[in-house]
Amino acid sequence: MKKRVSNHNKSSVRAVSVVLGSVLMIAATLAVGFAAWSWASSTAVNSENVYGKSVASNISYLNELFTISNANFSSIASQNVSVWIYNSGNLPVNIKQIWISNTTAVSGEQWSNTTTKLSNTNIPNCGHCLTVPPGTVKSIMLKVSTPFKSGVLYQFKILGQYGNTYSYEQTK
């Protein structure tokens, strides 16, 4: 009888420890599992975001289509020139920078749009930009610091918000 009781107590004690052990094991397994899952999940999401941003940037670059259609040196003010920019794409184009350079000069004298500031926009990563709506031609009058000379070939270069450039040459 004694032996039977002591055996019963022993088995009860062992059963509790087994349950506790199992619970602890399950908890540990679940914790490690969820930690691994969350890490994998967050890494995947980060990777997706990075890739998505890269793709979106490439798509924006590919959708940015513009040209310089014409330039007209002013007959009255020798420092002024009008440039017509055409957006042939389906999305608005934001022109960040316009350069005018004297391609025949050895020094490669170069002007940027410092004397005629592009209007300030609230577009991210653009700031002072010229916005050209899709399918429209927009002209901008630029004033440079040195007068344009007759018979000289000038190069006009424009930079879009997403990194596309377009060059155009015209002789005054």
């Binding site: 999940s41 040209t67 014409n70 007959s75 055409y86 042939s88 031609v137």
Partner: protein, 345 residues
């Protein structure tokens, strides 16, 4: 008792393995699927954009517009001929001899723009600029961003060889020999259409006397002043059938000019055709009388095959006068071109 315990313990193990497996699979599946779905979607969007851009650039390279400046009634005009795929003109610039833009128009400045031009179509623009004896550059912009340039200059007009050839020896309108063709006039729905049969240097008499026939030839205006020529309804093509006997009379057959659409349909009433400088154009003769289109078949007794016919193309109308102002009071042009013949076999 032991076997029942063992069975129970085995059951529990099996359940936990399944749950564990399901959980692990679910974790991998959820992360993997979300990742691959996202990447695939991005890739799809990227490929679609690349494809659209490629397509756009491909179409852009297929655009071909021929811009030709001209002067009509002392006004500068320009002629636009689409020799490529369909295109839409969205803006134009006219630059004078000093290099300054004297006119710029886009869709917000004129109702004529945007101007759609289907394949092979042409259009004339009158910018309302009085010609001032200088070189003009006309720059045209299409919707796809292509630029096309045409120049109107009088420099070529001073060439004495061209002047003597055109004004004295031959005339303002040249013909392209190989284009001389005969056509069958056939019904196509409510209208009459032209069906080209072949070159008209030889026409079977049996065919000519059993079908309504039209004749066509490609002509080009090479006026030394580069003026345009408008052909009125009295422009004809005549066949003088040379009789096979001495002292016999000439039979004649006359076809009056008709106007047809680019698809070959003949208009019921003739609309004056304008020939632009150095722009070849096919003109069709197929009517019995001037103005209203009335097709006819040559009557059987007219031709005695084999019989040769002298062909005279008689052009008539206006030179350097706007189409709207070309009428019997302003007619200042007429020419007879006797350079081809037809054998009725």
């Amino acid at each position: 008792m032991i076997s029942r315990k063992l069975r129970n313990s085995r059951k529990r193990k099996a359940v936990s393995s399944i749950i564990g497996g399901v959980l692990v699979f679910g974790m991998i599946f959820s992360v993997g699927t979300a990742y691959f779905y996202s990447i695939t979607q991005s890739q799809f969007a990227y490929q679609k954009t690349v494809s659209q851009r490629d397509n756009f650039l491909s179409l852009q390279t297929q655009e071909r517009l021929l811009v030709t400046g001209m002067v009509s009634a002392k006004m500068l005009q320009f002629y636009l001929n689409n020799t490529g795929i369909s295109a839409t003109m969205v803006a134009y610039w006219i630059i004078n001899g000093s290099g300054f833009v004297i006119q710029y128009k886009n869709s917000s400045l004129t109702t004529y723009l945007p101007a759609y031009l289907g394949q092979g179509q042409s259009v004339v623009f009158n910018p309302g600029i009085t010609y001032a004896n200088q070189t003009y550059t006309i720059k045209v912009l299409t919707q796809r961003g292509s630029n096309f340039i045409g120049i109107y200059s009088t420099a070529a007009n001073n060439n004495p060889i061209i002047q003597s050839l055109t004004a004295s020896a031959i005339g303002d309108v040249y013909i392209t020999w190989s284009s001389y063709s005969y056509y069958k006039i056939a019904s196509c729905g409510p209208n009459q259409c032209l069906q080209r049969q072949g070159q008209a240097f030889t026409v079977p008499t049996s065919w000519a006397t059993s079908n309504q026939m039209a004749l066509g030839i490609r002509v080009v205006d090479l006026n030394p002043q580069q003026n345009n020529i408008t052909l009125d309804m009295y422009t004809t093509l005549s066949n003088l059938l040379v009789p096979g006997c001495q002292g016999c009379n000439f039979n004649t057959v006359n076809w009056y000019i008709v106007s047809n659409s680019s698809s070959g349909q003949i208009q019921s009433t003739y609309s004056p055709i304008t020939l632009f400088y150095n722009k070849p154009q096919t003109i069709i003769f197929g009517s019995k009388g001037p103005g209203s289109f009335s097709p006819f078949t040559i009557s059987g007794g007219t031709i005695s095959p084999p019989e040769i016919a002298l062909v005279f193309i008689t052009t008539h109308g206006c030179e350097a006068i706007a189409l709207s102002q070309c009428n019997s009071n302003t007619f200042n042009y007429g020419q007879s071109i006797p350079y081809v013949s037809t054998l009725y076999s």
